[in-house]
Symmetry: C2
Subunit: 348 residues, 2 copies
């Protein structure tokens, strides 16, 4: 099998970590022998915007549809391009355009990683984030001006998308520890979240073998710090999933580690694999960025393509290298990106 992958390194450290991850993926494909990648680079992002006035060409989405999957680094150069332009013109545009309505993000204590928690136990969480609507609905506006100005942001929840995210969470739980936690806030947000709770209560009756709990987002955030080992699969709205997964990165030891997959679970269009971290302009170009988030994201792409043996190989290599002490600075080490990459390739 040859997989045609559209590669968008994007901005900042994306341009460094993506090529590194690709080397790792090519190596594991070679070792596996049953598949290979064909990478096509697209130089879309903020540089492209500064030259062309748009983050990607008009026909960008059509172009991407010709690929099996998308491998993306990071987007954003807030000093030069406002976030709402860079992100809605590329990252969120692709998530929506390719109907990647589920975002999956694991948070798991890896061997060799120092959690900032005193007693992190052995947590292993997967957050299923609704990725197409909710608080990120592009709906709202303003009225009046000056002291009377009012801004309105509409969060729109459809049963279809809500249910899809929840069902996906229950499916994942069947292959995991059979527990799903729903992140709610129905005591404060009295229209969206009671609806969310109702859909959850309806969906769970189809999965009697799965245990469930329902926790308010404020308490859930606190529990990520106090007892992360209590969670298996968590299903969350777009915004709550966003917050929980950065927290998940933090308790792992660094957001430079955390991987993510924007999935079109119907496999009608390509999915997009993109780490949780951003473009980190402050450390870009110095060769010190942590490539592990991007490499682990590559493992998620391998899994989604059905090569979970190769995926496990990548994760094992990451763990071995971390345990051996080869780490970038954000993890308390002193190795460069190149050294971490080389060590991972070595131990595949």
């Amino acid at each position: 099998d040859t997989y045609k992958i559209a590669v968008i390194p994007g901005d900042g450290i994306g341009k460094e970590v993506v090529p590194a991850a690709i080397e790792v993926l090519d190596e594991v494909a070679k070792l596996d022998g049953s598949f290979q990648f064909q990478w096509t680079y697209f130089p879309w992002g903020c540089d492209y915007y500064l030259e062309h006035g748009e983050m990607m060409p008009d026909n960008g989405l059509e172009v991407l549809k010709q690929y099996d999957q998308i491998f993306l680094g990071a987007v954003g150069m807030p000093e030069l391009v406002p976030d709402h332009i860079s992100l809605w013109g590329l990252l969120i545009k692709i998530r929506r355009g390719m109907k990647q309505s589920i975002n999956v993000r694991p948070a798991k204590l890896l061997q060799g990683l120092e959690s900032p928690l005193k007693n992190p136990h052995d947590f292993d969480i997967t957050v299923v984030r609704e990725n197409s609507e909710g608080e990120y609905s592009d709906s709202g506006g303003r009225i009046h001006s000056g002291n009377d100005e009012i801004a309105i942001q509409n969060a729109i929840f459809t049963r279809k998308s809500t249910e899809r995210a929840m069902r996906y969470a229950f499916e994942l739980a069947q292959d995991s520890r059979k527990h799903v936690t729903s992140a709610t806030k129905s005591n404060g947000l009295t229209y969206s979240m009671p609806f969310w709770d109702e859909v959850f209560n309806a969906v769970k009756t189809d999965y009697p073998e799965i245990d469930t709990s329902v926790t308010h987002i404020d308490a859930l955030a606190a529990f990520f710090v106090m007892k992360p080992q209590a969670f298996d699969i968590i299903v969350a709205s777009n915004l709550f999933g966003d917050i929980l997964t950065d927290l998940g990165g933090a308790i792992m030891g660094s957001i430079g580690i955390a991987p993510a997959a924007n999935l079109n679970i119907e496999r009608e269009y390509p999915s997009m694999f993109e780490p949780v971290h951003g473009s980190a302009p402050d450390i870009a170009g110095k060769g010190i960025a942590n490539p592990i988030g991007q490499i682990w994201t590559g493992k998620m792409m391998l899994d989604f393509l059905g090569h979970s043996e190769a995926g496990t190989r990548v994760l094992n290599a990451i763990e071995k290298v971390l345990a051996s002490g080869v780490k970038t600075r954000d993890l308390g080490g002193s190795s460069s990106l190149e050294e971490v990459k080389a060590a991972i390739i070595q131990s595949l």
Copy 2:
């Protein structure tokens, strides 16, 4: 001075921690000698609801207006009364009705408290939460049914309330370490949060001596775990403030510790002092609840009444008792509520 305080113990452990805190406050008033409290109890809450069909009497808000301040325990018995009834019928009703548009919540590493963080440094954060609108605006609805059902929740931000919260944060920063962080998410929520950012940029020009930063809520939540010592005053919307302050409780060592004040900064109506924790029905009635959140909340009431010396006395007593090892179970100790209370009164 005699302060007339309306006391609403509410539900669950509220009924235990409120009387304990009142004993402490009476004692510190006696020691101070310049003021005293006159407490009037109101048995409002879920028991009241089960008997009368409402959380408080119709004229409840009018009654409360006759008092100087309100001292509240916790509200909620989710097994018997749905949260949206208990909270919107009492807690949020009072916040809104008394125009308590600012919620102030410190998160600070106390001597003798074990943070779950390996290296918590000496963090000392105050979150100023907009308390009257935003994501908690009671606005929204549904359309269609069955598979086509859609729920909409409107987050409404007025310049007046947004600016008020921000100005209050800047005022606090002047008496603190002169730094304000604004919690935003303008890269995802493209109507409310760019407005929030604009107001912040306008307000900060009036406080040139205060340093500022603007951080997305997802990163900010992660930073509470990774570098809480980086923050001084944080200004946040209703929902973001809610999430950050539970996290603040978690990094302190327990949400049973965290205090809060719902302030009517114009002093037109009484303010309400109410800890961050909830009614914790699972441990209610056992004498094991942690009274420190409520007692520290009492310290915030003392400060707001202008008795900050007495307030400091209370906080010092809390720290001394914690350092001596007298702690409830949630903090890893084995003392009862009564023992903790007695020890605090002793060391005033």
